[in-house]
Symmetry: C2
Subunit: 196 residues, 2 copies
DNA sequence: GTCTATACTGAGATAGAC
DNA sequence: GTCTATCTCAGTATAGAC
């Protein structure tokens, strides 16, 4: 089924992925069609099927590529920031960028909300996104506590869960309020309560 | 358009609302159909149209009734708990209940995520939900700070935003992870960092 | 790799009988 | 208030030519 990997894709397949990714962020899995993708890419509907036989496969590869890119951004953060507090803010900035551009949600946040209507391979990719985020955050927070930068009253894994939840929720809230206030603001507030 | 008010509805219209509410929590606005509702209620599709002419109107009334009920639950919390910390945990328990029943999302959280594909009257109802939540939370937190129960390093409105975001996000995260860990856990972690 | 053409299904919605 | 019947359109997907 989802044995396809995004690294093996050609140019127009990548453009299809770009379009689908944007549509999922904006409308969700149930809110976009092959025709929407086709219009954005500038080709016809059956050509989309040529690249991705089913909508589920398309979504799975979108999530897969999204997660891969996100993890590479986490690596960049590690290279750029030493302090845990700075890393947490840079993490929030990743979501903030996507949100402030066009109030786009995190691809996997949107898919997570829709999890009940997703095919299993798609849900599996989404799960990987969340796992890798929580692992990364927990490690950052643990370090921050050991460095004495963050309060140690709560376990790293629990704080990681809370931090990531706050980012996802901030975007949902911002959309619901039709507001430009995004996850960066929430991150700033939360970080103030976490400082040692 | 959405001049209809849920208090003026008869018995079977209420059953239609119940079904639609559950479907929105589970699949989202774009993920359910009039036929799904009809099957759940045990009547035929055109009968749904008799009660709610359009899908947008149905969703708007669902959101309206949901917000109304939610606010009444907030009043109950005020009557049952005096301390701000207890109120915050009871608030989280509202979401926890919905989540643990069948991993259902907050109706307005789901609709907020889908805001880009909602008709304006629906989006307006959703906005009211978030506003009333933030107002209530900010008041509770302000009191908690004045009572000396919560740290005062961050403004009540900002903490309210963070708290609510964390609840919404916790449910998205739980779904994405296919896990039963819900907003109550996140609330517990966050509260520990907020204690004075 | 892209197209036209087309199948098939389900969607939201209306007409009109009971 | 509920039904049958029907409309119209959009959705996913396939066949087969270029």
């Amino acid at each position: 089924m989802s044995s396809k990997h995004f690294s093996e894709l050609g140019d127009s397949a990548s453009r299809v992925l770009d379009a689908a990714e944007g549509l999922i962020q904006q409308q969700g899995y149930n809110g976009f069609s092959y025709d929407d993708v086709a219009r954005l890419v500038g080709i016809k509907k059956p050509s989309i099927h040529h690249h991705f036989a089913t909508k589920a496969e398309l979504a799975a590869v979108v999530a897969q590529r999204y997660t891969h890119r996100f993890r590479s951004e986490l690596l960049i953060i590690e290279g750029r920031h030493a302090k845990a507090t700075d890393r947490l803010l840079a993490y929030a900035a990743l979501f903030e960028q996507r949100y402030t551009q066009d109030r786009g949600l995190c691809v996997c946040g949107m898919l997570g909300a829709e999890a009940a209507s997703l095919a299993e391979p798609v849900a599996a990719e989404v799960q990987l996104f969340f796992r890798s985020n929580l692992d990364w955050l927990a490690a950052v927070i643990k370090e921050g506590q050991q460095q004495g930068l963050l309060r140690s009253s709560v376990k790293p894994a629990a704080l990681a869960e809370a931090w990531h939840s706050a980012m996802q929720g901030a975007m949902v809230l911002g959309r619901g309020l039709q507001s430009d206030r995004g996850p960066a603001q929430v991150a700033k507030s939360l970080l103030a309560t976490l400082l040692a």
